[in-house]
Symmetry: C2
Subunit: 147 residues, 2 copies
DNA sequence: TGCGAATGAGTGTATATGCACACAATAAAC
DNA sequence: GTTTATTGTGTGCATATACACTCATTCGCA
């Protein structure tokens, strides 16, 4: 099967956005596969880990930190809340919600963390230290393309 | 607001997967913003463009080419089909479906293409030719981390 | 202190993503 | 030629993503 880049007319170039979206899907599947025994996706583990290292953060602040839409974050918490891995309380300012992990949530993160480590190491080995460093730098810059 | 990388314990490293997912979201929003007047998302334009350069391709082949799940592709076509931008016919092998653009679809792609060009150029200028080349190479390798 | 502005959160809607499963049609084996 | 394996597609389900809009609460100021 030909890649789209081989069939594009010569006067055009492959879409950088589709390139990163494809790579993102592939890497996500790679990590999800590694995390499978934990019952968490990489997205969920990432969210839980953010909550763990910033106890009692509000939804908006957490969204800013993760650079994800506030409403997306809100919905992503739903299955984790249902599973009893996190709790959502009203803060002093009753507009805010304070998010924190339950004991069960902490256990789940610690468990998934080991599998995550395997995937992380595996990717590092796959790309090589130098390329991984460059990639990290480039992704950070890309992320900053929007305010 | 602190970045998660600044609050992680020293003995851990930031997640490469979350890094690429964040960057992917940002770049997607950047392109979607540029494509806004066209009424298409970058994902939709990418799909339509693939169909345009490979007239009468089947769903499975298109999915392989785009490296996207077959069922995801199937559903992504829905709004474009509803909008009359593409047609789905049964192939000679009656298990298959032949996808092609309508005239309206071709016009929509050509229109969005101009706006895409702006975003593409803008990103190239933002990263610089050298870094963009390196990025493209790294993304291609990442994509190949899964079969 | 009371009113308008700003902030934090939730919901409706729509698209994107992929796994598990089911079904129909073709291809392969015998 | 019939049976079996393979292939191409569709659907149910669950999660991920973000925009537009609404609502409640707090803040700032006159």
């Amino acid at each position: 099967m030909k890649n789209i880049n081989q069939v594009y007319p010569k006067d055009s170039s492959p879409c950088n956005c589709m390139n990163i979206r494809r790579a993102s899907r592939a890497v996500t599947q790679f990590y999800d596969e590694a995390l499978k025994p934990s019952g968490l996706t990489i997205s969920q583990m990432g969210l839980l880990r953010h909550i763990k290292v910033t106890e009692m953060i509000t939804i908006s602040d957490l969204a800013k930190m993760m650079r994800i839409d506030r409403t997306t974050l809100n919905r992503n918490m739903k299955p984790l809340d249902d599973a009893g891995l996190l709790v959502i309380r009203s803060g002093e300012d009753s507009r805010t919600r304070q998010i924190s992990l339950t004991d069960e949530g902490k256990v789940a993160v610690d468990n998934a963390w080991k599998m995550w480590g395997e995937a992380q190491s595996s990717l590092k080995e796959y790309l090589g230290k130098e390329d991984l460093g460059k990639l990290t730098q480039l992704l950070a810059k890309l992320e900053a393309i929007i305010p």
